[in-house]
């Protein structure tokens, strides 16, 4: 397992602003966790249909990176995308309504879990086709460069995407034209049930991405403080130097590939491995630091959890009570 490279500051010597930021990191991860626990319930109740991919275990990656963005920045992701929009501040009610296919959903019920969009929050889409988001993000960064803006684009995807030809075409163009895009591979060791060593000729993905003329590095994706510290550096680099960056965040999903995989851990990974990674739960690690350093008390955390549960409950109620899209919506939005 990759050890944290950038030593996170311990919280004890921190300012109150910094303390508030730490608490916010925890709050966001907890919101994503509780929100997705509710998704799982709604899926079992057949309120959510189709494919549902949960982010449980990987929350530190989205939260750590997105905490460092500015409002001119953009985010594009793959289909495991609830964490991105929630970290960007999308309304949990609209996200849940989308997952239930309701008219009040982020995309009027047309996209579903794999295809969230929230332009107001700078999220330019979750994409269901492996590799697809890489081209989109590269184009978004192309616009930032073309218009000489100082924004950067984050592109999140899984280790499985490393094998899409499109990724390598785009890495080449991004390197060639110095596009301000940060490619973040969330290496959770599996693409569905195929382990990294069975799908990638080089298992060090940062190394695999190192030949396109822009920097690449591996980071610990289970520790949100470390992700945040790395993200701060990487984003600053890209914003100033105007060149791409590749980040391999080592992480792990604590749930099956999709909610339909009821037999997790399944035939492709062991229960022991799963349990070992759960010991590195990003929420638990941050909680230990926050409480240990006196940033927040157990009872304040409990209050936070209660508040978040209420937000999630309200999102579920809102989604349940929202109307289905009207029949006419079928033919709307096909062409602009």
């Amino acid at each position: 397992m990759l050890k944290t490279k950038v030593k996170p500051k311990t919280a004890s010597k921190t300012t109150s602003k910094e303390k508030a930021e730490l608490i916010e990191l925890y709050r966001q991860m907890l919101l994503i966790r509780r929100f997705e626990e509710q998704c799982n319930v709604a899926y079992r109740q057949a309120k959510i249909g189709g494919y549902l991919h949960l982010y449980i275990g990987q929350e530190a990656v989205a939260v750590g990176f997105i905490s460092q963005l500015q409002k001119q920045d953009r985010v594009v992701g793959h289909y495991r995308d609830h964490g991105y929009v929630l970290a960007l501040g999308s309304d949990p009610k609209a996200v849940m309504a989308e997952l239930l296919g309701k008219e009040t959903g982020l995309c009027k019920g047309k996209g579903g879990s794999m295809h969230l969009y929230d332009r107001d929050k700078n999220f330019l889409g979750g994409y269901g086709i492996i590799g697809g988001m890489i081209g989109i993000a590269t184009g978004v960064a192309f616009k930032q460069r073309y218009m000489q803006e100082d924004g950067v684009t984050l592109c999140f995807f899984g280790d499985g995407s490393m094998n899409a030809g499109l990724l390598h075409e785009c890495f080449n163009m991004a390197g060639l034209w110095d596009l301000p895009v940060i490619y973040i591979v969330e290496n959770n060791k599996y693409a569905m049930g195929t382990a990294l060593e069975h799908h990638s000729s080089e298992t060090n993905l940062a190394k695999r991405a190192s030949v396109y003329g822009f920097p690449s590095k591996q980071i610990d994706g289970m520790d949100v403080l470390s992700v945040r510290a790395e993200a701060r550096e990487v984003i600053k680099h890209v914003r100033e130097k105007r060149e791409p960056y590749f980040v391999e965040a080592i992480t792990y999903r604590f749930v099956g590939h999709g909610a339909a995989d009821i037999t997790d851990p399944g035939s492709y990974r062991t229960k022991e491995e799963l349990e070992e990674w759960k010991e590195r739960d990003p929420l638990e690690s941050l909680k230990a630091i926050l409480v240990g350093d006196g940033v927040i008390s157990e009872s304040e955390l409990q209050t936070m959890d209660d508040e978040i549960k209420a937000i999630v409950k309200e999102a579920a109620r809102f989604a349940d009570e929202s109307a289905d899209p009207p029949p006419d919506a079928l033919f709307e939005d096909v062409l602009a």
Partner: protein
């Protein structure tokens, strides 16, 4: 005969062919250790090992292209497309390469390979995972396009596909993997391409269809029978090559034709059937050829919108009545 579902019938054909010919190998995403997304290849990795049941990276253009090269040199690749929606990524390898090599080599290089997997709407799989692409491939000379509707047809047609000397597009349907039926166990049982099967006889109207459309049409036929309307259902089974003779024979009996498919209506396969029927059987027709097909929109995620976007039994029954009006 043995009772089995569509999924198991496909697996049985694969097993028989893996046993028969060591040049046959399977390649595709998550077909091995994960046992296949739709469990078609369940158990095969354990039985045949990683040399013959190969878990591929998410590189559709790559492994389809490799299969083409391997086939030119005499291997018999059976590629699994996790869903045909991802086949779009390999369009160049299929249409520009696999379909053209035999012709442009002046007949020197056949490409004996099969690409199989589910196509068509599942349940709320939304815009990027619900494509029916048969018309895209049928449109290209140099390919054969197979769309079985029953377990027996699936087994018999897949056997023929693996024995064929051409690139075969084999489209299963995600909604019928669990459908059960009698399947001949004889390892020599094969169903030839280009031979339609009349799945139900009737005198009042002809429904021309394939894949899931057969099941929808059989349901509609039951409703219509209660009202005294007897439809004939022609299951094309392969759309390239296509058995229009059976269609013409049926239309000569019923004088009405309705085409049913999940694929988009606009420029969909129904247009080809309608064109041929009016071109060659115009005098037999008592009504225009009608089409019951998918709405011309990207597949919406919402359950209620999805229902409106895909053809239903009711749509078919209504079209039959319109043809008879």
């Amino acid at each position: 005969m043995a009772q089995m579902n569509y999924r198991d019938a496909i697996r049985l054909a694969l097993i028989e062919e893996l046993d028969r010919d060591e040049r046959v190998f399977l390649i595709g995403e998550d077909i091995g250790r994960y046992q296949g997304t739709f469990r078609v290849t369940e158990g095969l990795f354990d039985k045949y090992g990683p040399t013959r049941v190969i878990d591929a990276p998410i590189s559709e253009p790559g492994f389809v292209s490799m299969a083409v090269g391997a086939a030119m040199e005499g291997l018999k690749p059976v590629v699994e497309m996790m869903t045909w929606s991802f086949g779009i990524l390999a369009m160049d390898q299929i249409v520009n390469h696999a379909a053209k090599i035999y012709y442009k080599s002046g007949g020197a290089c056949p490409v004996p390979m099969v690409i199989r997997g589910p196509a068509g709407p599942g349940k709320q799989l939304a815009a990027q995972h619900s494509h029916s692409l048969e018309t895209w491939f049928a449109h290209s000379p140099g390919l054969k396009v197979v769309l079985p509707s029953t377990p027996a047809d699936a087994k018999g047609l897949l056997k023929t596909a693996i024995h064929d000397n051409n690139p075969i597009i084999f489209m299963e349907h995600p909604q019928i993997y669990g459908v059960k039926g009698d399947v001949p166990e004889d390892p020599n049982f094969k169903i030839p391409f280009g031979v339609a099967d009349v799945k139900r006889e009737g005198n009042h109207a002809t429904i021309v269809t394939y894949s899931r459309g057969v099941h929808l049409s059989l349901e509609a036929a039951k409703q219509l029978a209660e009202e005294g309307i007897e439809v004939e259902i022609v299951d094309l089974r392969t759309i390239a090559p296509i058995d229009m003779e059976t269609v013409f024979r049926s239309v000569a009996k019923t004088h009405r034709a309705i085409v049913v498919h999940d694929d988009w209506r606009f420029a969909g396969f129904g247009a080809e059937i309608a064109a041929q029927v009016q071109e060659y059987a115009f005098d037999e027709l008592d009504a225009p050829v009608l089409r019951v097909a998918g709405a011309d929109v990207p597949m919406p995620y919402s359950r209620v919108l999805e229902k409106l976007a895909v053809p239903t039994e009711q749509d078919i029954a209504a079209a039959v009545k319109r043809a008879l009006a």
